[in-house]
Amino acid sequence: MSRAALLRAAGAYAEETFRELGVRTLQAAVYAGLRRRDGYLYSPDPRLLPRDPDELHRGLREAWAECRGLRAGIAAHASDLHGFALPPAPGPLPADLSEPLPLARFAAVLRPKDPYARLTLLTNWLRAGDPRRARVELAHAVALARGRADCRPEVLKAQAALAELGGDVEATLFHAAEAFVLQPWEPMAAANLLCYTVAAGSPAQVADALRRYRRGARGAAAAVPVLPYLRRRATRCAARLVQDPEMAALVDRELAFGAAAPLAS
């Protein structure tokens, strides 16, 4: 066994372990975000969902401990890894794995070129009420997602959310509609389009969005708790439903909420 081959293998092993730490941290951030109950309708890419959260957390702690050991061991024994670059030392692992924001920040440090890590951090800044930092992450995500069709719907949803926060109705509806066109089966894309249209669209646009919501999502939208989403506090959508009883009645009717008419009442 040659020393060169062994060093190359050690370098590849270190890269793989750091990659695993990054993936697990991102998954832990997504999982913690899903568990959080703050009225935010979070619908991450299903590929980021962990299959077994307990195993995920155990593996995350292990990968982190191993990365620390690898870095120290390689630094002490080998300066040249024959073509493999040693990643920077990982920072401390967030102590509370149920808090999504610190995990998302850590994931973005570990995976700086991954648009999904940026989008996850962006979502968490939005949920933390920090649109300025969310905009910074959006700029990173847009640059990283260039040429990657799989990221496009998520980027569009983020652009719509930030445009809405900035009060740009036209851009909000444009990005939300484009995301819906790319993923008409995705409940979140449909719910977003509906919510933004209710917030700022004409009755005709709202009726059209309701039709698309019912038809496009093909039943999958029923799984989304759209009612609390439409009524989220301090949003333009909720304010419009309060100010405009006819609009609320239209949404109640089209979404077949029945006699209860929760939005109009």
């Binding site: 190359r8 590849a12 372990t17 292990e62 401990a65």
Partner: protein, 225 residues
């Protein structure tokens, strides 16, 4: 269709392989049971026990699909992925299939650098890998068997089911195309250029009449090295 240039192992060889694989698995399991922070110190041992299995699988993939691979980099990468697994495959054949799937997946991924990086000294250059691996299967097979494995023209003809004269003509044609596209292309160590294996066009027919497989440049009929 190109026939497999390998012979299956005998029963006793299979049994021995199985025992060796079990020994490698034991080393791997011992490595995984070491506390994560101390695993670095055990990497050498697990690499020693797994590397020849991975090398064997890489060679099988290269031969089965006639691919040029930066073997040392592939070995390092696959070792890393194997050593990160919670458990390895119970049999070495399944392990070899897993290695094959990884290599083919990475080659098919346009964002992956596999098949597009310079190999270690003596290995094919990145440009040659790209040219070679982008050829149709049949052309790759011809070049691989003759140039890399150094089969005689007769053996290449046997394996590919192609008449020797046609194989020779195709070899020249395909290699000329690569050399034309990339004038600076250099043959890696141990390769043999087609160099018109049946001789110049005028003597082609005469040579074929005497012995279709043995042209004036054909001096190594004993098969692969």
């Amino acid at each position: 269709m190109v026939s497999e240039p390998t012979t299956p192992p005998s029963v006793s060889q299979r049994r021995q392989l199985e025992q060796e694989w079990q020994a490698a698995l034991a080393v791997f399991r011992a490595f995984r049971s070491v506390p994560p922070a101390r695993r670095f110190h055990h990497l050498g041992l697990v690499f020693e026990s797994l590397s020849h299995w991975i090398e064997r699988a890489i060679r099988t993939v290269a031969l089965r699909h006639f691919l040029l691979l930066p073997s040392e980099m592939v070995l390092a990468r696959i070792f890393a992925k194997a050593a990160r697994r919670r458990e390895l495959h119970p049999g070495h054949e399944a392990f070899a299939l897993w290695v094959e799937s990884l290599i083919l997946r990475d080659l098919a991924d346009p964002t992956d650098e596999l098949g597009a990086v310079n190999g270690a000294a003596g290995e094919p250059s990145a440009r040659l890998q790209l040219h070679f691996n982008g050829l149709p299967y049949r052309e790759r097979a011809l070049l691989y068997l003759y140039m890399v494995e150094r089969y005689s023209l007769r053996e290449v003809a046997d394996r590919t089911g192609m008449p020797a004269a046609e194989a020779a003509a195709q070899l020249n044609r395909v290699w000329d195309r690569i050399a034309h596209d990339d004038p600076g292309v250099q043959l890696p160590l141990g390769w043999r250029a087609p160099d018109n294996p049946l001789g110049p066009p005028k003597s082609d027919t005469a040579g074929l009449r005497e012995d279709p497989a043995e042209g004036p440049h054909e001096t190594d009929a004993e098969g692969p090295r």
